[in-house]
Each structure stands twice: as C-alpha cells, then as structure tokens.
Symmetry: C2
Subunit: 359 residues, 2 copies
DNA sequence: TCGTGATGATCAAGCGTTTTAGCAATGTTT
DNA sequence: AAACATTGCTAAAACGCTTGATCATCACGA
C-alpha cells in the first residue's frame, strides 16, 4: 500500500528563499503543487507552447512558484522523453599537444551553443581504446552527433563505432572518398596566399622551405606555391624548394642552404621553421625584411605575432573548422557530396615582408 | 484503447547484423525479448550486480542478445533513476586566448575520465551572461559538480548560481577566504625555484624583471625571488628589480635598463618577456648563457623549448590544476579548509643558464 | 509430509519530464 | 434552448532504466 502523500496546498515551510544546495532538487511536481496546478500546466508554461491555452493569471502563478522554489528543469528527464539530447560530442586526439585543438574546441563550442547545444568533449591523446570508450560514452548520452577531430590535418581511419552516430571529421578526412563528411583547411589556397604575400612585396625569386614529413599540408602548400608562381608568370624552379624537419631546428638548419640559393624571399612551411630561420639569418648578420623577406604558415600567435619583426603568415582556421564542423553536423551548411569541404586560410600580413614600392 | 503490441518472439527480421545508424536505438526491452527474459534480468546482467543470482546460461544468452542487437544503454534513463549524472562541468573563461586553458581541460578530462566521469565544457570568454547560461545548463544536466576556471591566476567573484552545485575554483580564488574551495599554482615556490636555478648556476647578483600588471603572480613571484635570495644569504637589492609589461615588447624594452645594472643573471616574470629579452641581448652582441643567464616563467612550450638557446623556466602546472580540481571536487584530495590549495610549479632547466663549475 | 533455504528470475513502482486526448466550464450562434 | 466553439486545465501514458519485494522451484533435512 503506497500512500500518495497528497497534502495539497499549505506546505510546511513554503516561503524560505531557497538558494543553497538542497539535497533533493525541486521537481516539476513540487512547482505544480505550489502553484496549485497540474504538472502538465507547468510544463506548458515552461515551454511556452504556442497553442497551449493558459490563463495569464495561472501563467503568472506558475512563474512565481518557479522563481520561488528555484526550480531547475531536469534535462535528463527531458531528453528521455524526446529521445535525443542537446549534446554534441567532440573527440580530439590532442588537446594537450598544441594550442590548435583548443581553437577547434572553441569554435565548435561557440557554434554549438548558438544552436542550443552543449559540447561534450573527450581527449584521446591518440589512444584507440580511450577513443572507443569516449565514443561509446557519447552514444550512450545520445548525442546529436560527433565531431571527430585531429590536431593536425591528416587522413584518418574512421572508427567503426563512430558510424553509429551522425558524425563529421574535422581537420582530417577519410582516405576513401565519400566515406564521411569532413571539413579541412584549404592548404593549396593557403600556400598560394603565402606566396602572394611575397609576390606583392615585389619578389620574383622566392624560395620555399617545405617539410620533410609527408602530410596533406606538405603537398598542398607546395602546390599552392607553384600555382601562385604560375599565375604570376614565374617559372617554377625546383632548386628553390628546400626541405627540412618542420620545427625551429629545421628552420635554423636550413639557413645555410637557403643562402646559397641567393634569394631575398622565403616562404616557410610553418611558423616554427620561420622562427628558427630568424635565428639563422641573424647569425649571418642579415636583417628581416630588408635582406630577406620571410613568410610562415599556421599563424601560431605566440610565435608569429611576437617575433622581431612580427611574422607575416597564413592562418590555419581552427576556430572556423570547429564551427563549420558543427554547422555541417546540424545540416546548416551545404553538405559535402564526395570530397571534404575546404576552409580558407587567411593571410596575416605583418612586418617580415616589406611593402613594395614599385620602382 | 492502447494495444500493447506484444508479438513476443519471432520478430520480422531478427538476425540482420545491425550496425548502421538505426532510427530507433535498441532498448533494454528489446534485448530482454530477444533473450527471452525480463528487463530486470538484463539490467542485472549489464550492471554485474554482486548479489544478483543469475544462471550462467542465462547470463550468456543475455550477453549474446546484447552483442547481436548492438545494444547501447541509454545513459539519460540511467541518470534519471540514479538522480545524478556522471558529468563534471568545466567553465573556462578563455579557451581561445591561450594554450593554458587547453591544459586545464586536458588535466580535468583525464582525471574525470579516470573516475568514470565525462567533461561537459563551456567557454564563456569572460562573458557573464554566457557564464550564467552555461552554469544553468550544467545544473540542468545534474552534473556531479562544476570546475570554474580562469586562464590566468587571479581572484574572482563566485557567480551566485555556481553555489547551487558542488564546485571548485581552478586557477582562481575567492577574495573572501573560506568562501570556496580552490586550487591555484604556487607562485612563491615557483619564484623561489626560478631564482634557485640561477643560484645553482653560481650567480649571486640576480636581476628580476617583474610585471607591471597587478596579479597574484606578480606578488608571489617577487616574494619567491626574495625568499630564495635570503635563503642563500644574499641581501635583497631593490635596484635589481625592474618592471615591464609582461610580453615580448616589455622584455625587449627592458634590455637597456637591465644592462645598466651590471648583472650576468636575470629572472623574467614570464617566458614571453624572456623571448623579447633574447632579442635585446642579441642586438647588444651579448650571448646567452655566457654573458647573461636567463630564466623565464610559465614554460610555454612553443616558446621556451625552442628559443636559441632553449630557455630554463618554471612550469605553470595547468594540467595538474585541472586534475587536482577534479579530485578535490570528488573529495579524493584533502579538502582545503580556509585557503586555496597550492600546486607546485616545477623548474625546467634548459640551456639558458650555464652549469656552474665551482672554482 | 512439512518446513526451511537456496537459487533464479519476474513484478511493478518510480525517476522527472512531455504530450495527446479529453473534460468541464463558459460563450456564441442559431 | 439546443448545438457548437472556445477556453482553461488535467489525466495518464510514455520515455528507458533500476531495484526492492515477491514468487516459483527445487533440494534437503527432520
């Protein structure tokens, strides 16, 4: 025998301004009782249903009760009914490794929030098992969809379980085309833009220090360089393309070779190389941009904006990648049919390339 | 009249290897039906209840059905029953601004995961309204607790609504002591460690370029510097403390003043200043560490590890802050009674200070 | 033959919402 | 005054799961 405990009205201590953490949170039913209406009515008021007919007076009574009791809807219960949550999952392989992942998160979070979704994140640091668990967790929480992101642009295998949800690859793509929606940076356009900064600086003989490490960026940025030269009517000279490991050491180490090429303009695969190159050039008594104009890639704020002189570079649009990923997931952007959607890498001009004063 | 649709057994298409996204996810009941048992039994099997008595045979049948159907428990339903979710909320004021916030997220996420919790993050970028909404959302999702973090160490007002949940301040603290649990970096110890690196290098006359901007870091790092000197029996000389804006420009700009002090060792408020100082010293034809030993603070990887020479510095333990915050929230660490718990800032020695060969 | 104890599984209530169908008043037409 | 609309609100089922109470067997002594 269960007694329904229905001492309606006059509760014991009704008008204490509830605010500190209670053991049992206030429920819809309590609000309903306080307002002297049914839970259905309260629900209708809360959700501002269009075709719900509620007297203005009642509506007020309910609102007062809600405020009075400090009621918070239980999102879990809501979700249970509706079947799908207001979550978007984001699995990242390297939040720790770079500031980049942070930007993806940030972009995704902003965009998700804009559409009433919250971000559920999981950092896998590349660990496959963790990844599987993370995805499982997200599936169990009935996320609206999953963003699968990598900290650097690369091809990736799509984990089996990911397919149980709606998903979008961010900053990575599936090798088999058409296998997955994806959004990636437009490396070629970026390479073109980087080169164009130097072209606009009046340079015709431009070296490119590429990375030794295979990656879409390596191919794309080179292609962009070639395209920009061609568009400017400058023949491509393989002699002017060097290669080095894409970090400070690599850039520093490439200095000597670069100087042999007798150029006054160089485009580096990334900002870190440019940073190393700065040191190398300085040691050779050369000044930037007068003796050598330098352009980087990635726009790593901490580096690029604060080198002396500040480095002209091209931005990797991580924030945009995150945001675009969310939009694509929610079907707000033009869905990609076969290939990944490419996001523009905008040029950021600073002082490492002198402005051209046409002779 | 609702007909219960109970065509038990022989469903239409039972043995299709389910895997691709279905409209309606598999439920407990479906598993139960497939295994020919009650939902209670399935639940017991899934949760491996200790004192549940289930025949091994039945257990297997259930497990098979689960695998067969590709069943995923609905975490929302689970949570509804249990009353509290396996979420920990993290509100951050600046994921975008620095790589630091990323580290806090990472540490929190790892530690949370370790205890079976998932991280629900919200980036407020300092916006109070967003913050309120974010906290509300977390409360509605019945998070276990909330980590409230800032991207740089500072005092902060505790938002009213935050008190509705269990919470811990991370990298910030309430001005009124005892008002909130908090975990922050140990700036004093950090300052001591930084200074000690130089002391170990054999230096006795050590300059400190402090920040002009008021902050716990400014006071703490100075105090640590004083403490280290005192411990080494070196009188504190106010002449040796300079001040500059804590960025590259500031460090660069401080070069001249520094050189007037006739010192061969300097400890900078942060790595960015050290980076600027590197440039200034170089322009004066001075070499590091021979003419000037330099120590930074923060250990911003991209900068410190890759300057030439690599910069000795002290780490801001953001990862640990996130992890410790979670532990404190879950009551696994010694709770702070009155003051914030301080996390150690470990020294990171690189080549910007020469090793001391005692004469 | 009747308790008594295990053992293996089910019943059914309940978690906090949403939502559809419907009831009881009123008001409005004829 | 009968018929119909409109308004304001509620009952109750449903969402997918957990869990304490209960039940049916079967085995074992006495």
């Amino acid at each position: 025998m269960i007694s329904q405990e229905k001492d309606s009205g006059n509760a014991a201590t009704p008008d204490v301004p509830v605010s500190k953490s209670r053991a049992q949170p206030v429920t819809l039913r309590e609000v309903a009782e306080a307002a002297g209406v049914s839970t259905a009515t309260v629900s209708l008021v809360i959700n501002k249903k269009k075709n719900a007919r509620i007297a203005e007076q009642t509506r007020q009574r309910v609102k007062d009760a809600i405020r009075q009791l400090g009621y918070r809807p239980n999102a879990m219960a809501k979700t249970l009914v509706s079947g799908t949550s207001r979550f978007i999952g984001l699995v990242a392989d390297g939040v720790a490794t770079t500031p980049f992942a942070g930007q993806i998160i940030h972009g995704a979070q902003d965009e998700a929030w804009k559409h009433g979704y919250a971000l559920l994140i999981a950092n896998t640091e590349g660990n496959r098992d963790l990844e599987t668990d993370a995805i499982a967790m997200m599936l169990e929480y009935k996320v609206r969809g999953i963003l699968y992101s990598t900290w650097f642009h690369r091809p990736t295998a799509v984990p089996e379980t990911l397919r149980e949800a709606d998903f979008v690859l961010v900053n990575c793509f599936s090798p088999e085309p058409g296998a997955a929606r994806a959004v990636v940076p437009d490396e070629e356009q970026g390479g073109r833009s980087a080169t164009e900064i130097l072209l606009r600086g009046g340079h015709r003989r431009i070296a490119f220090i590429n990375a030794t490490t295979p990656a879409p960026a390596r191919d794309g940025r080179l292609q962009g360089y070639k395209d920009a030269l061609q568009a400017a009517g400058i023949p491509f000279d393989p002699e002017l393309v060097l290669e080095a490991y894409p970090d400070q050491e690599g850039g520093y180490g490439a200095t000597e070779e670069l100087l042999k090429r007798n150029v006054a303009a160089v485009y580096c695969y990334n900002d870190r190389m440019a940073m190393g190159l700065y040191d190398g050039l300085r040691e050779n008594g050369l000044s930037i941009p007068d003796d050598m104009a330098v352009v980087g890639f990635d726009n790593q704020e901490v580096i690029a904006a604060h080198l002396r002189p500040p480095l002209s570079t091209v931005s990797l649009p991580h924030y945009e990648l995150g945001a675009a990923g969310v939009r694509m997931l929610l079907g707000l952007d033009e869905a990609s049919t076969d290939a990944a959607v490419k996001i523009m890498c905008p040029a950021v001009e600073r002082a490492s390339v002198a402005v051209h004063s046409p002779a």
